[in-house]
């Protein structure tokens, strides 16, 4: 081979140059590509298409990944913003509710100058046993809540009496509980009586008005308020309305069924009356 090129190298170079010039001339003067170029390109075309397809596929994947990552990030960001907005709406609703409650309490404070100190509290738990009717509040001795304090709703209606206190909690026995007993007065007739819980009525959320005068003329719907006698509780707090007047077991006297003005089961916020002036 070495000898072949040594002896015929010049001829080979010359032949190659002639072929090159011929091909170049042919390409220059011909309208289409030369048969050799054409043949080579025909052979290369499928490979070129395959390479192009592979490159496109990689580009697609890359774009898809980039787009998906961006969308995921955007989605995450949107979710976070929605959660923040929902939290803000919840907070606003809670604030609005609290604001409404405080406004009504402010009105009550203006109407009732004898109620000197309030503490608003949230109800953390409703009745916990079937034998009592109670509420648990999130305020206790640390906020100045004491046993025997009256608990009212936003309208000033009596909810119950604080029966037990801890540092940051207190238990309230509602008006319907069997241990609740307070001096009451019928607003229209000024008749005095004792409003007390009755076990048989507790489930219905009612209480009794006992020790009524023999000649009392109660009507269904009469408003019953606290009498304030003895100075244990403020006078004039709304207990509820007379639902029915019934004769007692002896038949000689009568008692009234009272439907409390407020339903403790529907309350979420209350106010504890920490101090009040005794009105004579």
């Amino acid at each position: 081979m070495k000898d072949f090129f040594k002896h015929n190298g010049l001829w080979v170079l010359f032949a190659a140059a002639v072929i090159s010039v011929a091909l170049a001339t042919l390409s220059f003067f011909a309208g289409a590509s030369s048969p050799l170029v054409n043949g080579l390109n025909v052979l290369a075309s499928p490979f070129r298409a395959m390479c192009s397809n592979i490159a496109d596929w990689f580009n697609d994947k890359q774009n898809y990944y980039r787009d998906t990552t961006a969308l995921q990030q955007e989605n995450e960001e949107l979710r976070r913003r929605v959660a923040e907005m929902e939290e803000a709406v919840r907070q606003a609703e809670s604030d609005s509710e609290e604001n409404k409650f405080l406004r009504s309490l402010l009105e009550l404070r203006e109407q009732r100058r004898d109620l000197t100190d309030f503490e608003t509290a949230r109800i953390t738990e409703h009745t916990v046993t079937n034998w009592t009717s109670s509420l648990t509040l999130d305020k206790g001795t640390a906020q100045g809540v004491e046993k025997g304090d009256c608990v009212i709703d936003g309208t000033g209606a009596l909810v119950g009496i604080v029966s037990q206190t801890g540092m940051n909690w207190s238990t309230v026995l509602t008006l319907a509980d069997t241990d609740t007993s307070l001096g009451a007065q019928v607003f229209r007739t000024k008749d005095l009586g004792l409003a007390q819980g009755d076990f048989a009525l507790m489930e219905r959320g009612l209480l009794r008005l006992d020790y009524l005068p023999a000649d009392c003329q109660l009507l269904s719907g009469d408003l019953v308020v606290t009498s304030g006698l003895g100075g244990y509780y403020p006078a004039g707090m709304v207990i509820g309305r007379v639902q029915e007047v019934l004769p007692d077991d002896s038949g000689a006297a009568s008692y009234a069924l009272i439907a409390p003005q407020t339903d403790p089961d529907t309350l979420t916020e209350v106010a504890v009356i920490k101090s009040f002036d005794i009105v004579t």
Binding site: V128, T129, S134, F199, A200, E203
Partner: protein, 170 residues
Amino acid sequence: MLVRNEVLFKWTLYALAALLCLAVQGALLQRITLWGVIPFLYPLAAVIPATFNAPAAGTAFALAVGVVCDLLLPGSLPCFYTLTFPLAGLGASLLSRSLLSAGVLCSLAAAAMAFFLTGSFHCLVLWAGGKAAWGAGAYLTLREFCVTAPLTVPMTVLFRAVAERTRLDE
């Protein structure tokens, strides 16, 4: 394991199981009302462990559950459950020793007894306070028992597992 450690381990497991029941009561059952009453697990937590134990141990455990109940629940008498649960625990333990072997049926009978005792005592307290309500009290006790009775099955399974686990170590 030393005998003292075994005893400690056994009652710690019982206490943890009872604590789980109290958590279920506080977090879930207290918010459910069926037939007008809340399912009440505390008497079951006092008597079911007693059915798997000797009378003295069962009574002592029921007493501890009673003390916890009195600390957690509002009531007319500050020691209401401390007085009633040991009696129920003793009765449950004696029941499992003499009439029925510890199991779901025994737990059910012990639960009925515990509800009867607590209901009667509630009515007695109301009567003593001049607010007798025997009929309403009996009806409430019946509903309380009926609503809580199905829960004796999972509670028996739980306390049986504790009893078997502690028996293996003996």
